[in-house]
């Protein structure tokens, strides 16, 4: 059907990069002078240009990505690996890392998610950011982010992945701190970058260990060498554990798991489309992608698998509990993201990598929709984000309400929608897989119930009931323009049908998704097939499925009761347990604990280094050297008496010694 498109694979990252250059030129030469002049002025013509280029390049990349995937699909299942070398980047002795793009089933799914959801968010941003002064700068950063993310998922070796990894971290900083004049925003940007850095430290060490063990960082080469090196004893389970745990540390930072999740709630300081793109659909999923890509390594180490699953499960439930008390609409969604990412890692940890990527994709759809919807609400309410000041919006914002409701149904795991299929597959695998455990399933199911609860709490508080809006806000409330609502509608459609590519066999469907990803996750599929994709578990699987739906319905029911029927009850409960409520409301004081235990200790250490070590010791040495030189100079200068006789004497002395030396020899 399509052929030759794969040769243009490089366009997928190159188009957003072109966007960066073009928008950057506009930002530098057209926008910046206007901003510096600080006059109020009518929207300038460059805005139309940027509003076109920004989304267009990502849309173009999506088209190329789609065509590439179709061409890949046209090949036979064993042949679905395409590598395009752009240039031989590093050739240093035994180490070579080419700048090459690899298209296989996994990366094709990722680029479609990134460019597809990214395109919709770019379009949405045109409307959402239309009142901003630094319009072009926003799109420069957003395009740059898209470029970096595509490099991350398309790279053919770990080093190129790391380049993208760092790039998205940078763009995250730039975009969170977009309103840098606001101190809380710039602080949040810094927090994100610094906490990420802790994770990156693990990633880099893992990379070094990987290279040291395998001699290469290229994916295909590394995975091909596993059997050989395992047999020869170079690749011991201990080393595999070390590599994978170090990489996981990077994932913990980038994908906001315990203990490095603290940056993501603060990252809500950034514009809402940024939260949707970066902190829901794409950047935070980089960790999941990395673990999935390295599945061959993780499967070598049961310890690492256990750690990944445990951390994922713990994060899922922990973060969900925080979500039930938050009053800022974006904060609820942020904690929800952290929780859902926990699910993805839980999936990877029990060997269900396909399920993890499946949930990544469906989550991208409904979480982006939720964030964009919340942006629409905030935009309609002229900036209000506190849900206690919302209510009755469903009649004012019909499209926003409908789409967000669909997304909430999806995230709660209501059958038929995308979230149901992906979440359920994770829970089933947590229960049944070789690497799974009953406790993991139990935690996951409980978290699902809590998720349903707080998401419906959000919907009820925001859209239903009496209006609690401030009067002047209520006067201006209006539905958002088409540039914002059309992406919402498209994402709603995806949230519904997106799961239909992965309907499990037990429900009578064919899991196209799993088949597509089988070449990459062959092992996971084996694991599932090996231990009885057979008959007895069918009833069990259906039973567990029904159980999780029941739990979700309980959560919804509780939310209905507390926020629609007895609306005063939540307050009563909170007042009945003030201590517990405060702790949960303040996110278990984790940030404060970190501040006391870590941040302040480091800062005190730095102060000591500055005042004691540097000022006294180092400066002492430097000044001491100078003092010694001066002292020596002081002593030696006395030779310069200015008296000829003394000089003649020293000449004589020299002559005596020289002749004496000659005599003695």
């Amino acid at each position: 059907m399509v052929s030759g498109v794969l040769d243009f694979l490089w366009l997928v990252p190159a188009l957003p990069l072109l966007g960066v250059i073009l928008n950057g030129a506009v930002a530098l030469f057209a926008e910046r002078p206007l901003l510096l002049a600080e006059e109020s002025h009518a929207p300038a013509p460059y805005r139309k240009l940027v509003a076109f280029i920004g989304p267009a390049v990502v849309g173009g990349a999506f088209v190329v990505a789609l065509l590439s995937m179709l061409e890949l699909a046209a090949r036979s299942a064993h042949d679905r690996l395409f590598v395009q070398v752009l240039f031989p980047w590093i050739e240093a002795g035994g180490f070579s890392a080419a700048a090459a793009l690899q298209l296989d089933p996994l990366s094709s799914v990722m680029i479609l998610v990134v460019t597809g959801v990214g395109f919709l968010i770019h379009v949405y941003s045109v409307g959402y950011m239309s009142h901003e002064k630094a319009f072009a700068r926003y799109f420069v950063y957003l395009n740059l982010f898209t470029f970096a993310m595509l490099i991350l998922v398309l790279g053919s070796n770990y080093l190129l992945m790391f380049v993208g990894w760092e790039g998205v971290g940078l763009c995250s900083y730039l975009l969170i701190g977009y309103w840098y004049e606001k101190k809380s925003a710039s602080d949040a940007g810094k927090k994100a970058f610094i906490v990420n850095r802790i994770g990156d430290f693990g990633f880099i060490l893992g990379l070094f260990l990987l290279f040291w063990t395998f001699g290469t960082v290229n994916y295909t080469e590394v995975f091909a060498r596993i059997p050989l090196l395992s047999a020869s004893g170079t690749l011991t389970p201990a080393i595999a554990t070390a590599i994978t745990l170090l990489f996981f540390l990077g994932a913990v930072g980038k994908s906001a798991q315990i203990p490095l999740y603290v940056w993501l709630p603060d990252a809500m300081e950034g514009p809402t489309p940024v939260s949707a793109l970066i902190h829901a659909a794409t950047m935070v999923t980089a960790g999941v992608y990395m673990v999935a890509r390295s599945n061959a390594l993780y499967l070598l180490s049961p310890v690492s698998m256990g750690v990944v699953a445990a951390v994922g499960a713990a994060t899922a439930i922990f973060s969900a509990t925080i979500g039930i008390t938050q009053n800022d609409i974006k904060r609820v969604l942020a904690y929800s993201t952290v929780s859902q990412l926990g699910y993805m890692f839980l999936a990877c940890g029990v060997g269900a990598f396909t399920a993890g990527i499946f949930h990544l994709m469906t989550h991208a759809f409904f979480k982006a929709l939720l964030f964009l919807g919340s942006g629409s609400v905030i935009h309609a309410l002229s900036g209000e984000q506190d849900m206690r000041k919302m209510g009755s919006l469903k009649k004012h914002l019909p499209i926003t309400f409908t789409t967000m409701f669909i997304a909430t149904l999806a995230i709660a795991g209501i059958p038929g929608l995308s979230g149901f299929f992906s979440k359920d597959e994770i829970l089933w695998k947590a229960f049944s897989s070789v690497h799974g455990h009953l406790i993991l399933w139990a935690i996951g199911t409980l978290a699902a119930g809590v998720t349903a609860f707080y998401m419906f709490r959000l919907v009820f508080m925001t859209f239903f009931g009496e209006s609690r809006m401030e009067p002047q806000v209520e006067k201006h409330v209006h539905e958002s323009p088409y540039s914002m609502t059309v992406p919402l509608m498209l994402l709603a459609v995806l949230s519904v049908v997106g799961g239909w590519v992965g309907i499990p066999a037990v429900l009578g469907g064919y899991n196209y998704f799993e088949a597509w990803l089988a070449p990459v996750f062959g092992h996971g599929a084996e694991g599932a097939a090996a231990h009885g994709g057979g008959h007895a578990p069918v009833a069990l699987e259906l039973g567990l499925m029904a159980g999780s739906v029941a739990v979700a319905l309980c959560g919804i029911g509780l939310a209905w009761y507390l926020y629609r029927v007895r609306t005063g009850k939540p307050k009563e409960i909170a007042e009945a347990m003030p201590g517990l409520y405060d702790v949960v409301l303040n996110k278990y004081y984790v940030d404060e604990i970190y501040d006391i235990l870590i941040v302040r200790r480091i800062r005190d250490g730095s102060v000591w280094l500055w005042q004691a070590f540097d000022a006294m010791f180092i400066d002492g040495i430097v000044n001491g050297v100078a003092a010694v030189v001066r002292g020596a100079g002081d002593a030696v200068r006395r030779l310069q008496t200015g008296m000829v006789g003394n000089y003649a004497f020293s000449l004589l002395l020299g002559a005596v010694f020289i002749v004496g030396y000659i005599l003695i020899r």
Binding site: G645, N646, F649, L652, V656, V659, G660, I662, L663
Partner: protein, 162 residues
């Protein structure tokens, strides 16, 4: 015969030299310097270096010392304003160092035995003249330039107003 004359003239030279170095008034030093130079000229004659002996007397004793005396008289520092020489540690050290130096020279001299060359008449006017105008012609010409420079330098330095 030669050793006796050597010792005689040598003693005069050394004695004169010591006197040069130890007198208070420069005029006395200058006169003793003439004595020393004459003794050295005699030593030259003893070694058959007649030409040099003559030059020594004409140039050294006859011109240089005369120049010295001119300058001493020109400067004409009164007796009471002459520098007072004191014995200091530095000076004692200087004398000792010089003594060491002489000792070393003596030891050095003992070490080198030299074969006697042809008993040629190497110090005569003809021999020196020949050597001067053939082998060492360049050096000879350059010394004339050197003397020119010295003349110009001396005049320029000693003028009251340049």
């Amino acid at each position: 015969m030669e050793p006796v004359l050597f010792i005689l003239f040598g003693a005069i030279a050394v004695g004169g030299a010591i006197m040069v170095v130890t007198r208070k008034h420069p005029m006395a030093s200058a006169l003793y310097l003439i004595l020393t130079l004459f003794a050295v000229a005699a030593l030259f004659v003893l070694r058959q270096a007649h030409f040099l002996a003559a030059i020594q007397v004409i140039v050294y004793a006859g011109a240089i010392v005369v120049l010295f005396i001119f300058v001493i008289m020109l400067i004409n520092v009164p007796e009471n304003k002459l520098p007072v020489e004191r014995v200091t540690g530095m000076r004692l050290l200087g004398v000792i160092a010089a003594g060491l130096f002489i000792l070393e020279t003596a030891l050095l001299a003992r070490r080198f035995a030299m074969p006697a060359g042809p008993a040629a008449d190497s110090g005569s006017v003809q021999a020196v003249g020949r050597a001067l105008f053939t082998d060492y012609l360049l050096a000879f010409e350059i010394t004339s330039v050197l003397l020119l420079a010295a003349v110009i330098g001396a005049i320029t330095l000693a003028k009251k107003k340049i």
